[in-house]
Symmetry: C2
Subunit: 380 residues, 2 copies
């Protein structure tokens, strides 16, 4: 069976859905692996390394010839339409926002697996691309903050006096937030963090952060994700966070609710209350933003209330893509591990009795298998 | 006596020669402190904080009124000419490259102290601006590398496999190099380093780096600085370094010889032998460059020998200025500490029997007191 790895077409996307290492794994499963020339170039993976690993380099993939297509960004509707009936796709599908693609996959009779839908159970951890890419994003956002801060992160004791460490506040302590805490701590900052899930207090502490307890009722949703707070409680949350934000040199926000708009945690007024030179990095900028006024891919200078300077508000965009080599390394393993679960004797044969396979399946045999997506499509 | 703190006029310079903290120290010495409005703004120090510390905010300083002028970048010849006979200046003077300023200082009868000339003895460590700013630059260049590298610095053990740490090679183990080693190590990289001074091996190890011993005769000059290698030995050095450079994900070069062109440690061919995606940061780019082809303030993409990608060659420029708040904090202390040594009862009265004062003095009473600068001026 033929498996194809495309060059990603999405602007600014530098990742690739397979590395030479995973090509070896996929070829070892008995699959015939085709890869588009220079598909891994932007991520630092060379064509000759893919060839050495057992892939055939082709100028352009013909989707109609493939049994399996692996990808990073959701496939285009036109690509979905060109796939064979029964072909399998594995990759990020953003089902809530890419309904046109979902429709095309259904109509083409494609069996599409969305990595976002992989159940968050321990057996499926090695296929969890949301987590692997959040790890990258969490590390990245600390670098983005540190390079813009006119101060050191670590404490320095020098002959010319002592420089106190930077204060970093992280809001949202999921995979990305915890990684941000750990990375800021590594660099020597004094780190505190908050999350509406009480269970995260121990995790924050284990990464070296100080958990800030807010006097809110706490909420933890099924699946380990935070659920949205009601409007009133959101306002209370912001009020309680304001003094902590004002004290921070760096604020990093990572609160996301999958498939929904990110919660507004920080108002413009709160940003204006920070000291001149402070930096805010909003990792949720692409999904609506945790910080008022954040624009994905842009640095906004917010004047401080004292009129003496500004805060740099960074709307992060494509964070994992900026670390394309290691982000692809982890992503490609997620893809290959999910595929390995459904290949027998060189044939891709998904067993829908397997919870992981069933859970990750977005479309199959002309139907949408993910209920919220099916409802969203029906509502169009 | 009136002491003036100007807004720095040099393009791209964000530092300031005094902070509210050192204004308090200077005012405490009995000096009448004047500061230009918004002089500290780019570094994150507000006018009202200077005022609270005891400074008077003025729109523009009149050099002719001042007894003391403190500064970051060398004063302009026109400013030097406008100073009173017997006025004192304290700051970086770059005497080897700013001869026009030196000439103007001599003609105006100014007593100029150059922080670069402060003797490297323990009593003067708190006035050593070369060291304090090199500390900032060394930290900074690691961030500049990390943000461009498409990989993590630390080792990660994840559900999707293990990501090995980045390999960082630091050439030149002075203050900046040691700080780069320590910062890269903090971030989790595997760090190795080389310096032509054998004494640096222990210092490299103390920062967590592995010292690379090259089979060169070793050289250590007076004053703790490296001296230039002869041309032949430079070629041998590059040859011996080449395999270490090829293995590195990140190369940071920090080898400087004060007042002279930086040594060429890395040829273009060596850069081309690195893997696609690798990053080179040349901290010496402004003084001629340790790396062939480095351009101050620019990223150059050097194609790799395998034709599969490129290496990003960063010519660092104004590195301490990019961290203006903490760089100013340390620099301002250096300035204030040197001044404190020469103020008695509110009067600046340098005692030239003091080695530190005598050593740091560039011009006094119509003469150049620093021999190499006097020779360079005479040779014009």
């Amino acid at each position: 069976m033929k498996l194809g790895i495309p060059r990603e077409r999405h602007e600014g996307e530098r990742r690739v859905a397979a590395t030479p290492e995973t090509v070896k794994q996929l070829a070892g499963l008995g699959l015939d692996v085709l890869i588009e020339a220079r598909a891994g170039a932007a991520a630092g993976y060379a064509d000759h390394d893919y060839a050495d690993a057992g892939a055939r380099i082709v100028q352009d993939l013909d989707p109609g010839e493939l049994n399996v297509l692996v990808h990073v960004r959701p496939v285009l509707p036109s690509t979905a339409a060109a796939l064979k009936r029964g072909a399998v796709t594995v990759g990020m599908a953003s089902p809530s926002s890419e309904l046109a693609t979902v429709q095309a996959l259904v109509e083409a009779g494609v069996t599409a697996f969305a990595l976002e839908l992989v159940p968050r159970i321990s057996r499926a951890q090695s296929m969890d691309a949301l987590s692997s890419q959040a790890l990258v994003a969490g590390y990245r956002c600390v670098l983005e903050a540190a390079i813009r801060l006119p101060r050191f992160f670590p404490l320095y004791m020098t002959a010319a006096g002592t420089v106190p460490p930077a204060r970093v506040l992280v809001l949202g302590a999921g995979v990305a937030g915890l990684q941000a805490i750990g990375t800021a701590k590594r660099l020597g900052a004094r780190v505190s963090a908050n999350d509406i899930r009480p269970a995260s207090a121990d995790e924050v502490a284990s990464m070296g952060g100080t958990f800030i307890k807010l006097d809110l009722e706490t909420a933890e949703a099924s699946g380990g994700y935070a659920r949205e707070l009601s409007a009133d409680r959101g306002a209370l949350q912001r009020e309680l966070l304001a003094p902590h934000v004002a004290m921070a040199d760096v604020l990093i926000t990572t609160a996301a609710v999958p498939g929904r708009r990110a919660p507004l945690l920080v108002s413009r007024q709160m940003v204006q209350g920070m000291r001149p030179g402070s930096v805010v990095v909003d990792l949720a900028a692409e999904s609506g933003g945790n910080v008022e006024g954040a624009v994905p891919g842009e640095d906004i200078l917010v004047p401080t209330a004292d009129g003496q300077g500004h805060v740099t508000l960074v709307g992060l965009k494509d964070a994992p893509s900026a670390m394309a080599q290691d982000a692809s390394r982890l992503y490609a393993k997620n893809v290959a591990n999910l595929l390995a679960l459904m290949v027998r004797d060189g044939t891709v044969a998904p067993d829908f009795d397997d919870d992981v396979i069933a859970g990750a399946c977005l479309t199959h045999d002309g139907a949408v298998r993910h209920l919220p997506t099916a409802e969203a499509l029906a509502a169009l």
